[in-house]
């Protein structure tokens, strides 16, 4: 697997392309099919898709980008059919789930459309021309390594997301990173990537364990609930809460040097923009883009936090 350090390619790539290809009148239709904004992260995906579409269309006068959001897998399959009948050159999609959407995407591919898949891998990877994703095992590993290096020894509680592949991969990365170290996981529970559920579980953890050194909750929405539960219980033993994904409020806390949230680990919804930029580059720039692009789970610290802060994003 090729690993490219792309980080947040969005803004940087767009500005260079504006410069070089503003005169290109070649007509290209690109469809973007993504899940509807049903929680913070997917809300960020919608925001960044719209933002990238604006930048790209401004840079390429002949380019038309259609964005379609769907609330579930079945309606996304319908949306894919509708988009294809309109005649598209490329499709950028973040599928709801692999099993339901692999076949509909195969049909899109058979019509000769360039297919870019984002974040969730298909059951049959030969369909995709380009695959752009975050690195789930890495998100867990980076968080685990940080805890291992800063705390050396300590008791950690974990709040997981939902029992799906993404969550398993993150958990495994974390477990592998702390294996054999002085970091001990006291408990693991599912918080459904929800603030309210994370708040409840954290309250119960605080009741159950008299001493907790750190919390790993792999998602910033849940970190909000965790921090509130800790401050309400007025407990001072918890040294840090490690979230992930790069929600703007959390990035801001890191940038401000909040002691409870010293770092964040990126799993940016803006990866949709990376995918759109690369797909467009395939048509206008004749650069080779086919393959797999795995974004790093970048460690966000006080020093680089500004780079990843989008004040206007909903996430």
């Amino acid at each position: 697997m090729r690993k490219l350090l792309i980080g947040l390619a969005g803004a940087a790539l767009a500005s260079t392309m504006t410069f070089a290809y503003a005169q290109d009148k070649k007509e290209v239709n690109i469809a973007v099919s993504i899940p509807a904004a049903d929680h913070g992260w997917t809300g960020g995906v919608v925001y960044h898709a719209e933002r990238a579409a604006k930048l790209l269309e401004a840079a390429h006068p002949g380019l038309k980008i259609t964005i379609k959001t769907s609330p579930d897998g079945a309606s996304q399959a319908n949306a894919l059919e509708d988009l294809t009948t309109q005649g598209i050159d490329a499709l950028v999609t973040l599928p709801h789930n692999s099993d339901e959407l692999t076949d509909p995407l195969r049909q899109v591919k058979e019509k000769g459309v360039f297919v870019t898949v984002v974040d969730r891998a298909l059951s049959d990877p030969t369909i995709q021309d380009l695959y752009v994703a975050g690195n789930n095992p890495e998100l867990g590993r980076v968080a685990g390594e940080y805890l291992k290096d800063t705390l050396k020894t300590g008791d950690v509680v974990v709040i997981r997301g939902l029992p799906i592949v993404i969550d398993e991969e993150r958990q495994k990365g974390f477990d592998d990173a702390i294996a054999g170290s002085g970091i001990k996981v006291l408990d693991k529970q599912f918080g459904n990537w929800s603030r309210d559920d994370a708040f409840k579980i954290m309250q119960d953890y605080l009741t159950k364990f008299p001493k907790i050194d750190a919390v790993w909750c792999q998602d910033d929405d849940m970190a909000v609930g965790v921090l509130e539960a800790i401050s309400q219980a007025k407990r001072t033993d918890i040294k840090m809460v490690i979230g992930g994904a790069g929600m703007k409020d959390m990035i801001k806390r890191v940038a401000d040097g909040d002691a409870m949230t010293p770092i964040n680990v990126l799993y940016p919804p803006s990866m949709i923009a990376t995918a759109m930029e690369l797909t467009v580059a395939n048509f206008y720039d004749q650069v080779p883009v086919r393959g797999k692009y795995i974004l790093d789970a970048t460690l966000v610290t006080k020093d680089n936090a500004k780079e990843f802060y989008f004040p206007d994003s909903p996430f």
């Binding site: 904004a37 925001y47 929405d221």
Partner: protein, 336 residues
């Protein structure tokens, strides 16, 4: 609604009194059984802090379920309460952020009034469509559930709606975290809502009309009860209860997200049924409902406090405990 003129209720009032102690006590016995289970699982379970945490957390569902007790006793159903809570919370926070009124205190007070107004309107919408349109409540509230949820997502731009003013946030937070006479404020809100709900349901003619409409709509109609008005009113009460729950919910995290109130409707209905109210209508038990809401939250709490159950199986164990609690209740009722 405040008309307290007593109407002689000839239909089995004495009988209801006679079986009150059996059925009404059953949920509380099930609750006691859960306490024993909790204490066995983890001694910290019985600590005052833990019990107050759980009681406080159960306040949203308990308050919403008080409203649901009215709707269900009148033979209706409201699936939209979770989405409605998210919508009311979102609108309330957007109003608080607007800075329409000078002074944080005045702003907060108006915000609460706005929330209750939005809740009542949302309830009126449900009630009006159900009664005037003569459509099954299940379908109407399923529709409004989707509408309220999407509008919230749209207002939040797919993200979250957070209170901007830190000063106002700090002023509002004690509504969730504050303690008065040893009990957290949300618990007092449950008690107040319970007392008011019980008074309306048991002591007013409106309350008796609710139960009459739920047990037999035709008979109620021929006895001169304005069936549609009574049914619509129950949905408005439900809306107001949702708004009160929101007023307690918003200060906790200071934000409404697109997942706020997700599946609360199922929890509220479960609390009502565990509490002894019949899903087919005609019986309403306010205190049983509150007990049911508390039980639901306790089951979750016990699961996290225990070390026995794998995190993958928690849902299965929760489901089993709820079914067993209902079985215990039914057996108790039959014995007497």
């Amino acid at each position: 609604m405040t008309d307290t003129k007593t109407i002689t209720d000839t239909r089995g009032f004495g009988r209801k009194l006679a079986d009150l102690d059996k059925t009404a006590v059953a949920p509380f016995l099930a609750l006691a059984a859960l306490f024993v289970l909790g204490a066995l699982v983890n001694p910290n379970f019985l600590s005052i802090d833990n019990l107050l945490n759980v009681l406080t957390r159960s306040s949203f569902i308990a308050i919403i379920a008080i409203g649901a007790t009215f709707v269900i006793s009148a033979g209706g159903l409201d699936l939209s309460v979770g989405s409605m809570a998210a919508l009311v919370a979102g609108i309330m926070i957007l109003f608080l952020n607007s800075g329409a009124i000078d002074g944080d205190m005045a702003m907060l007070a108006t915000g609460i009034v706005v929330a209750i107004g939005v809740g009542a309107l949302a309830g009126l919408l449900n009630g009006a469509v159900i009664t005037i349109g003569k459509i099954e409540p299940f379908i109407v509230t399923l529709g409004t559930m989707a509408i309220f949820r999407s509008v919230t997502v749209w207002l939040a731009d797919g993200g979250s709606i957070a209170m901007k003013s830190i000063a106002m946030r700090n002023m509002f937070r004690p509504v969730y975290t504050g303690v008065f006479l040893g009990l957290p404020i949300p618990v007092w809100v449950i008690i107040a809502a319970g007392l008011l709900g019980a008074f309306i349901l048991y002591k007013t003619s409106f309350g008796r009309h609710v139960v009459a409409v739920g047990s037999n709509e035709d008979v109620a109609k021929y006895s001169g009860i304005h069936v549609n008005r009574v049914r619509a009113m129950t949905y408005i009460i439900q809306g107001i209860c949702v708004a009160i729950a929101v007023v307690v919910y918003v200060p906790r995290l200071g934000a409404a997200t697109t997942t706020t109130g997700m599946l609360w409707e199922l929890q509220a209905i479960t609390a009502v049924v565990i509490g002894g109210t019949a899903l087919r209508g005609g019986v309403g038990r306010i205190w049983g409902t509150i007990c049911g809401a508390f039980m639901l939250e306790i089951v979750g709490n016990i699961m996290v406090l225990s070390n026995i159950v794998s995190e993958y199986l928690i849902g299965a164990v929760q489901g089993t405990i709820i079914i067993i609690a209902m079985l215990v209740q039914r057996t108790l009722q039959k014995k007497k």
